[in-house]
């Protein structure tokens, strides 16, 4: 495990010098740059540029704010069994202020943040995990006696770029699910004057965060974003279209329940409520923990956590379609639809019978009420009528 204090990054050292001192060879370093270029969808001709930009990088200051969240994203981003150069980069730049990881606490920690913000004004990266509660003037989240929104807006003023990590920073995640008691919103709903990168997911993949940071350090601008503020290089296509179980989807082979034969054979989890067809994420390609696995790989349907308000729109997680409210438990849309359709067919039948009865009565008592139309004479009729 990488331990930052064993080889502290000296004040004016560049990343290249630092990695060299830590025993990282140039070959390893270039390999990493190549990987990141692939991840970002860049040409391999860009690798030298990435390498140059990274190795000349002086310790970039990062302030990491944890707001209304569960720390799961920090776990996902920082916990790796075998730290890569990317992790080193991330760990190192993360250390100016990260109130869960830093040794300092209380006033000392807050002072460290103030110092870092003043010293690096206009150049530090602001990383945010967690949402902003806005009800009751934001009292549902206070840090050092100040509301989350206050803390965030102060840090945003001097930031070179703002990167939101996780579903909370994206749209508010579970705390913003209906009825959203604390009025939680994503940071992009509070920060209006500049673009916010949303590394969406609950939690997101660490490699996406690293690649985004590398992009920023290399080109001095943020990668191309989609309508949700998610980097397109990572969130450019659906899980469904990258999934290794897709062949089973196309073949019509579906897991019907967990632990059935299909589940053992690795069939498609569509029927188990997999939201892969509605979810844009690089999970099938990047995966977690050095490509160890990912949810669908482990046999669990996708929950759709990179999509806005997935707690509300993607539920039930084990059903294909949302439930219909107001019809009680387990009453699916199809059940209601089928009942109505059968009801319509039955109603039609009943109406046909009623029509027959009505006509018979009209004929029996023709003078009581007029027929719908004047009665039609036919040749047959006049023959039948002997008085005709």
């Amino acid at each position: 495990m990488y331990f930052p204090l064993s080889h502290p990054w000296a004040e004016d050292e560049t990343l290249g010098e630092h990695l060299e001192r830590r025993g990282v060879t140039r070959r390893q370093f270039l390999k990493y740059c190549g990987e990141v270029a692939v991840m970002l969808g860049l040409s391999q001709a860009m690798v030298p540029e990435i390498a140059r930009a990274l190795q000349e990088q002086r310790r970039p200051s990062v302030i990491w704010l944890q707001l209304q969240e569960c720390t799961g994203c920090v776990e996902s981003v920082l916990r790796t069994a075998d730290p890569t150069i990317g992790d080193l980069l991330l760990d190192l730049i993360s250390l100016d202020y990260q109130h869960t990881l830093m040794a300092a606490a209380g006033k000392a920690a807050e002072q460290a943040k103030q110092d870092a913000m003043e010293k690096n004004r206009g150049s530090y990266l602001l990383v945010v995990t967690g949402s902003i509660p806005r009800n009751e003037d934001g009292i549902y989240l206070t840090i050092g006696g100040r509301t989350g929104q206050d803390v965030l807006m102060e840090a945003v003023q001097g930031a070179a770029a703002v990167i939101g990590i996780g579903a909370c920073a994206h749209f508010g995640s579970v705390q913003s699910a209906r009825p959203n008691p604390t009025g939680a919103v994503g940071i992009a709903d509070v920060i209006r004057d500049r673009p916010v990168v949303n590394i969406a997911g609950c939690p997101p993949i660490a490699d996406v965060v690293t690649a985004t940071v590398v992009h920023f350090l290399t080109f001095n601008r943020l990668p191309e974003l989609d309508g949700e503020g998610r980097p397109i290089f990572a969130y450019g296509s659906r899980i469904h279209d990258q999934c290794f179980r897709r062949a089973h989807y196309d073949a019509g082979q579906y897991v019907q329940e967990f632990d059935d034969d299909g589940a053992r054979k690795g069939w498609c989890l569509y029927q188990m409520g997999c939201k892969g067809p509605a979810t844009f994420s690089p999970c099938p390609i990047f995966q977690w923990n050095d490509h160890t696995d990912w949810p669908i790989g482990a046999g669990h349907p996708c929950l759709g956590c990179t999509e806005r308000h997935f707690w509300d729109t993607m539920t039930p997680f084990y059903g294909r379609l949302p439930n219909v409210a107001g019809f009680g438990v387990e009453r699916r849309a199809d059940t209601i639809g089928l009942s109505l359709a059968l009801g319509a067919a039955a109603g039609v039948g009943a109406h046909a019978i009623a029509t027959g009865i009505h006509r018979a009565r009209t004929r029996q008592a023709p003078n009581k009420e007029p027929a719908d139309l004047p009665v039609i004479p036919t040749e047959k009729k006049s023959e039948e009528d002997p008085n005709g």
């Binding site: 073949a251 019509g252 029927q271 199809d334 359709a341 109603g347 039609i376 004479p377």
Partner: protein, 242 residues
């Protein structure tokens, strides 16, 4: 039919022998659109319900099967044909005859609403003789078909939106990308696309029944008008839209 020959009515028929006249309602293109839509909608419903909830699975190796992919292919082709038909129908709303034009599908006059109420009462066996007669669509039909068109529109929009997701940045993604957020998320759009099919499942038996009923009970020759284009109607009956 012998019941018709009862005394009180026989004298009426003798005094005023009924003349028939033929009215031409539906251009062959409109009739073709109707029957093509019927085929497409049934195909879309059958394949769509499989896509929404695969009601059988294949066994063995995935390489030997292509069930869902074929269902989806047929679904998309049928959708394409239906949309092409719908576009033609929209064009026809403006160039068609007075029974086919847009104003024949909208009960916008006050009189239409009054007549709709009378037609509704006719179906509830309340003073059926008061119901007005129409050559084309009566106001209840007008509003029903307009509603059905609206349902189809929602399904077309949500369908193209979901179709576009497979190719981000492509034509359908770019043109219909706004539909998902409008519904409040992909799954919600998917839900409406799916559940609105039941509107067709409800519409179909009612539509069939009322058409057959019009022919059997009122000799309106509605079914043949959608095949041959014209109707034989009683010359002595007054029609609202004559």
């Amino acid at each position: 039919m012998t019941g018709h020959a009862r005394a009180g009515e026989a004298s009426f028929t003798r005094e005023a022998p009924v003349q028939y006249k033929r009215v031409y309602l539906w251009h062959w293109a409109v009739r073709a659109m109707h029957w093509v839509s019927v085929l497409c909608i049934i195909t879309l419903a059958v394949t769509g319900f499989y896509i929404g909830r695969p009601y059988f699975t294949s066994s063995g190796q995935a390489i030997n099967h292509y069930v869902m992919a074929r269902f989806r292919f047929v679904h998309f082709v049928a959708a394409g044909v239906l949309v092409a038909t719908a576009m033609l129908r929209v064009y026809w709303l403006f160039i068609g005859n007075r029974f086919e034009r847009w104003d024949a599908l909208l009960p916008y006059r006050q009189e239409d609403w009054k007549n709709m109420w009378l037609v509704l009462k006719k179906y509830l066996f309340v003073e059926p003789w008061k119901a007005p007669h129409y050559l084309g669509h009566n106001p209840l039909q007008q509003i029903t078909y307009s509603f059905i068109y609206l349902v189809a529109l929602v399904q077309i929009l949500t369908g193209f939106y979901m179709f576009g997701l497979a190719d981000p940045g492509g034509f359908f993604y770019t043109v219909f990308g706004w539909v998902g957020p409008l519904f409040g998320g992909e799954q919600v759009a998917r839900f409406y696309h799916h559940v609105l099919t039941w509107v067709w499942a409800i519409f179909l038996p009612v539509h069939l029944y009322l058409t057959v009923r019009a022919d059997v009970v009122h000799q309106e020759s509605r079914i043949s008008s959608m095949i041959g284009g014209g109707r034989y109607v009683r010359a002595d009956v007054e029609f609202v839209d004559d």
